[in-house]
């Protein structure tokens, strides 16, 4: 009875750690390949287009409306205290530190993570990965490395873009729609937003890039059993990456806050 209970409890725990272990192994093999094998720059550029360029619209809209709604909500509260011009500082700090990186990561997960696991998963179930291997090409070198490098470069840029647009949209809403004094708004914003806030946002972007790419590629590479398997892998890739982003975000905030403390000093 007790043994049954332990197995019941143990099985998901073991499979969870196996899963994490597999993703970590994939990550370490990828980095080993980046260091030791020749890098396929053409595929890297192709992925940059796929990840960086094709995500532009999504990231812009995410940034713009997040900044806008955040400015409006903050204004409604702060204006009661006569602190309307502090809205700029609140918007820019929170977009830099949290909203920009997290929302961009979630959008990229939906767009890029899903397509990565679907593409690699389809290759897996249609024997194309076996064909690669049979032609003496390591699937990690050919499929995972270009995607990883492209994500490592694109994500910080996308997040920076999202932050910039978010701040601009906040400014627009506050100044033109809500009649906040522009000079004070900008002055407060510049005073309270520090370089370290931006660095924090970009460091998060980099970490999220790795989470998304490894989880999605792992799901693709381990998918099985035809179209259903690929569909399942894709869904799981999106769900797992999103959860990983949200969970890691908390720990990153706690850890990075030691290095880049929030607030004015």
């Amino acid at each position: 009875m007790f043994a049954r209970f332990l197995t019941l409890l143990g099985t998901p725990v073991v499979s969870f750690f196996t899963y994490v272990g597999e993703v970590v192994v994939l990550a370490s093999e990828t980095f080993a390949s980046i260091v030791a094998q020749k890098i396929r720059w053409r595929l890297f550029l192709h992925q940059i287009v796929e990840i960086g360029l094709r995500s532009q619209l999504v990231v812009m809209i995410t940034g713009a409306f997040t900044g806008a709604v955040f400015a409006a909500q903050t204004f409604f509260q702060f204006n009661k205290l006569g602190m309307g011009s502090a809205v700029g500082a609140v918007v820019s700090v929170s977009v830099c530190r949290e909203l920009g990186p997290v929302l961009t990561a979630l959008m990229v997960t939906g767009r890029v993570g899903a397509s990565m696991s679907a593409e690699i998963g389809t290759m897996k179930v249609t024997e194309q990965i076996d064909a690669l291997r049979a032609l003496a090409v390591h699937p990690i070198d050919y499929l995972v490395v270009p995607r990883t490098l492209a994500m490592m470069l694109s994500m910080p840029l996308l997040v920076a873009e999202c932050i910039g647009i978010g701040i601009a949209a906040g400014y627009f809403v506050a100044i033109f729609l809500l009649d906040v004094n522009g000079t004070y708004y900008v002055a407060n914003m510049v005073r309270w937003t520090q370089m370290r806030d931006i660095i924090m946002g970009l460091s998060k972007a980099f970490c999220f890039a790795l989470l998304i790419v490894f989880i999605s590629c792992h799901k693709g590479l381990t998918s099985r059993e035809g179209a259903v398997g690929v569909g399942k892998a894709t869904t799981e890739a999106v769900v797992d990456s999103s959860l990983a982003v949200l969970i890691f975000n908390f720990f990153l905030t706690m850890a990075l806050n030691v290095i880049f403390p929030a607030g004015y000093q």
Binding site: T122, T126, E127, A131, R133, A134, L135, A136, V137, H138
Partner: protein
């Protein structure tokens, strides 16, 4: 060139291969025949390390490939080409790019050389002018031929064909058979051919192995197979079910 010793493999709880022993000498063509679902494709995949056996040894060119890492296997795989049963073309690439893939991976950069070699291959597989088509727009037989071109373009010293003529019309089938023969005669390519096409088996084989219930049931020359009185083999040759 290729030696298999006591190869065993269970898949999904089912014994597919239970103790296969095979030897293929350099420059020889071995044809493997057997009932559908008998494990022929599984056997071929083991020979290039795409599947790992539960027990047994596989020697390629004097090297045991069991337990080699994926990176070490790459050296073996450059020597041994494999044609997959379904072609396994890269569906994001055109016919031309598929065929040129092994060359590009080998570091060939000159577009002119690549184009010449690809055109030469297209001529061999009788698909001239289809360079720009995507794999989804090809018929099954065309896919197979493109896959064949891709696996032989770098002239491996050994080629494994998984049903090279299945789904092809008799004329193209015959030209593929000739191609296999020619590769063997001219370049002393070692071949293992899995086929259901008995005419082509007799045409190209030096030896024929009949795979049955996970073991080699018969091994011998085509003549020996033809005169074999074994009812199981005769049924297979004549295509008789239940008597």
């Amino acid at each position: 060139m290729i030696a298999v010793r006591g190869l065993k493999k269970k898949l999904a709880g089912q014994e597919i291969l239970c103790g296969i022993d095979l030897t293929v000498a350099k420059g020889e063509t071995l044809v493997i025949i057997g009932r559908s679902g008998g494990g022929k494709s599984v056997l071929l995949k083991h020979l290039v390390g795409l599947m790992h056996p539960d027990a047994g040894e596989i020697w390629i060119d004097g090297e045991n490939i069991i337990g080699l890492s994926e990176r070490k296997l790459a050296a073996i795989r450059r020597k041994v080409g494999i044609l997959f049963q379904g072609g396994a073309l890269f569906d994001s690439m055109t016919v031309e790019e598929n065929i040129a893939f092994p060359l590009r991976e080998a570091g060939e950069r000159n577009p002119k050389t690549i184009r010449e070699k690809v055109n030469e291959m297209l001529e061999v597989i009788e698909l001239e002018g289809e360079q720009k088509k995507m794999p989804v727009n090809l018929s099954g037989g065309m896919k197979k031929r493109v896959g064949l071109a891709r696996s032989i373009i770098r002239r491996p010293s050994c080629i494994l064909y998984d049903e090279p003529t299945a789904g092809l019309d008799p004329v193209v089938s015959d030209s593929i058979n000739r191609l296999i023969r020619r590769l063997q005669e001219r370049f002393r390519v070692t071949s293992i051919v899995v086929t259901h096409d008995m005419k082509s088996a007799f045409h190209i084989a030096d030896h024929i192995a009949y795979l049955h219930q996970g073991g080699i049931y018969f091994y011998g020359t085509p003549q020996e197979l033809e005169i074999s009185p074994d009812p199981l083999l005769q049924d297979f040759l004549l295509g008789r079910s239940e008597r």
